[in-house]
Amino acid sequence: MISYSTTEARLYASIALIRRTEEVIAEIYPSDKIKSPVHLAIGQEYIAAAVIDHLKESDYVSGTYRGHGVYLAKGGNLNAMMAELYGKAGGCAKGRAGSMHLVESSKGVIGMSAVVGTGIPVAVGHALAIKQRNRDDVVVVFMGDGATEEGCFSESVNFAALHKLPILFVVENNRLAIHEPLNKRWAADALTERVSTYGIPSKRFIEPDTLAIHRYAGDAIEKLREGSGPVFMECHTHRWFEHVGPNQDYNQGYRSESESEEWRAKDAYRVLGNSISAEEKAGIDAMIEADLKAALEYAESSPFPSSEELFDHVYA
């Protein structure tokens, strides 16, 4: 276990690992070595990093098809993730999942889903199991703003509130569903207020303030462990890249570059990096680059599954 001198340093390490991993994915992508659609969360990493920092190994996280960050922040194996993207046998799902369905049960990473919103009730089910078994674990479920439009979101919040389940709902509100802006999808930009009517604490973060999110999530998770029922967080954020793929797409006309500049000026990766000592930062960065190099080597050298394996795992 690596120890860091400050919370800021620990959070920087988590954010930087996700940022650099996704930058490398974007670099490699045109080579076609990655056999999977990739949904990059560059610019949004600080939310997963800040919240998951409070979790222990037996706690669960649920991410989405944009889930590299959730997987890595919870301790998912970088080698296994990269091999999975390459479609290799050494992948976290032996090449059956690709980027969209990352999983690492031993680290509490619930399998991710590409059908928007479907992971939410599944995460609530994990919280139900925790309560039924009298465990002191918690679940954090991450989702985008689009997922909150699915019926199962409201159904899930209601059920979790009704049964006082130990689950933290975290919306990464990048205000885009593929290319569709929020104002074409929501009658009222009042998600946090809507959720509060289920009788659970609900909090909105407009700014990418990693430490404020970290503090609130820490308190919330502590209360979850005491059995006081679910908590909801909405974090406004900005997706730097296209919905799917390795490119930036501000030239496509559906959103403005000026909006991006505002968010990039507050980039948590840079802000936190600047807040820690240059020496510690250099050490963190060097370790990440070494880990990434090793992960790419692992992915390259891992074999593809043999075709005889096609029928493995249909049934347990």
Partner: protein, 354 residues
């Protein structure tokens, strides 16, 4: 041939209930959830007494949120619990389709064998007294289409109990398709816990002239048709597949190779359904060396109507089954059984409303 323990008669709904009760007794990870399972009607008695015995932590109702509740059951199953999710009508499974097809069926495969979903979904088909378009559908073929999910269809109280226990023990999602009209039917059922294995059909009646494969309550209808045909000297073999997926095709194949005739009587529509699957496998079989005369009968290719005059024409019944078999065997259409002889006690018992 199956030889029953004749010590105790149990009704179908009692078999379902006893199966769940014994599964819950033997494993504290098993719990049951579903709208109305804990009310005074107890899903027509099939969950009766479970709340009192196991408490509201393990037996509880749900909000009317079939989509999310299915996801919750799946999530609990992934986390090590063994949920039984109950629906009073199969039609509501359309609201669960996303979770069942996209998550439950796929998780073990999609996550490289690292995640299991030991989920049981109990669901009931309705029939007659105006159940109509949305309380009558047999949707087993839709689910059996998807790899990763198992579909079973008990036709009697013995299988209702044994399949329930087996479904709970299975590490995959299992859908139990029950039939409302079978709820009051009785069979000999052992008191001790036992399982009915998946993928093992049962030959309910041996015969040489024709193979009839019936699904769910159509097993009863087919057995009555076989009795009527026996009076004419036509010898029917009646097979209850018991489980739709996995399917014991070998049993059907061997029978058809002997009789040379096959009628599939489905409790659902024909188009792209179970009956089409069985006929296709017979057509493809390398084991069947003779030419086979194949027919199928099931729901009319319409929405289910409520009025009895139309509803009677919508379903197969002993009369239509027997007449079709008679034609297959003799090539003639000069016989009709009397309406009285085609009455089935279980059909006559049900007076609605639900």
């Amino acid at each position: 041939m199956y030889t029953p323990d004749t010590s105790r008669l149990l009704k179908y709904f009692e078999g379902l209930c006893e199966g769940a009760e014994q599964a819950m007794e033997s494993d504290d990870r098993v719990f049951m959830m579903g709208l109305d399972i804990d009310d005074h009607r107890a899903i027509q008695g099939s969950t009766k007494g479970l709340l009192q015995k196991f408490g509201s932590e393990r037996v509880f109702t749900t909000p009317l949120s079939e989509d999310a509740m299915t996801g919750v059951a799946i999530g609990a199953a992934m986390a090590g619990q063994r949920p039984i999710h109950v629906h009073i009508r199969m039609d509501f499974l359309m609201l669960c389709m996303n979770q069942l097809v996209n998550i439950a069926a796929k998780s073990h495969y999609m996550y490289g064998g690292s995640v299991q979903v030991p989920l049981v979904v109990r669901t009931m088909i309705g029939k007659s007294w105006g159940q109509g378009a949305q309380h009558s559908q047999g949707l087993h073929s839709m689910f059996a289409h998807v790899p990763g999910i198992k579909v079973v269809a008990p036709s009697n109280a013995y299988d209702a109990k044994g399949l329930t226990i087996q479904a709970v023990r299975d590490n995959n999602p299992v859908l139990i398709m029950e039939h409302r009209l079978l709820y009051a039917t009785e069979a000999y059922v052992p008191a001790h816990p036992f399982t009915v294995e998946f993928g093992e059909a049962r030959i309910l009646r041996e015969g040489e002239d024709v193979t009839i494969v019936g699904v769910s309550n159509m097993v009863m209808e087919s057995m009555r048709a076989a009795e009527l045909l026996a009076e004419l000297g036509i010898d029917c073999e009646v097979i209850d597949p018991i489980t739709i997926s996995p399917l014991d095709f070998a049993a059907i194949e061997a029978s058809v190779n002997r009789t040379g005739r096959l009628l599939v009587v489905d409790n659902g529509w024909l188009n792209c359904g179970f009956s089409a699957e069985v006929l296709a496998r017979v057509a493809e079989s390398d084991q069947i060396t003779r030419k086979v005369n194949m027919k199928r009968i099931g729901f009319a290719a319409t929405t289910c109507p409520t009025t009895p005059s139309l509803e009677d024409a919508f379903y197969p019944n002993p009369r239509t089954i027997a007449m079709l078999v008679y034609h297959m065997v003799t090539g003639k259409q000069d016989w009709e059984p009397s309406l009285e002889s085609c009455q089935l006690a279980y059909q006559a018992q049900f007076k609605g409303p639900f």
